[in-house]
Assembly symmetry: C2
Homo-oligomer: 114 residues x 2
């Protein structure tokens, strides 16, 4: 039980690292929180609302996202879209990501040969 | 300046997620801390000693690694190697990693098309 917890924590840590990159990549077109969450889930990245919504607000406060309220179906929804600064950060993160994937490819394929 | 700090933090977060996976994959053969650090650095994953050494001890306390002291060149060195439980966890993390890479491939290639 405790050991499963370790695995869960490690898996969470693995996912946490990519969440910002995933969100920035998806918010090149504006979306509200729930639609962004659904789109990521469709691609296999499940993020619960309790994680995503505060993260969207944090990314906005860091000037990586911009948001505006829209009235839709008689209810207000906050739409988020990547900011110009966010695009630069996305570009840096993508380069870093490519390098990490290449490194891990090497490390994990070496391991398979053993 | 502050914006560079954001990028640095995000890059660190991206790397942090893969460090345990990288370490477990490399410790299928026993190594002491410094040699593991050097091997990872050779593959492009730089981890400083202040991060790596406590992490090795944490992974041992979680029964993912085993260690023993050896006397070498008249100085004691603590050698680490993956434990049987660590191998199971490594297997789970590798599967998760493959899935994350596949998801990100889809998300990032969609984005390029836009």
């Amino acid at each position: 039980m405790e050991q499963d917890q370790h695995i869960d924590n490690l898996v969470q840590e693995l996912r946490r690292g990519v969440i910002v990159l995933a969100i920035l990549s998806q918010l090149q077109e504006e979306q509200y929180g729930y639609s962004a969450m659904k789109q990521l889930a469709d691609q296999g990245l499940n993020i619960d609302q309790g994680t995503l919504y505060p993260l969207l607000r944090r990314l906005e406060s860091q000037d990586l996202l911009e948001s505006k309220w829209r009235l839709e179906d008689s209810r207000p929804r906050r739409y988020y879209v990547i900011s110009p600064h966010g695009r630069q950060v996305l570009h840096s993160l993508q380069q870093e990501w490519s390098q990490i994937v290449a490194t891990m490819d090497t490390l994990l394929s070496e391991q398979e040969r053993k």
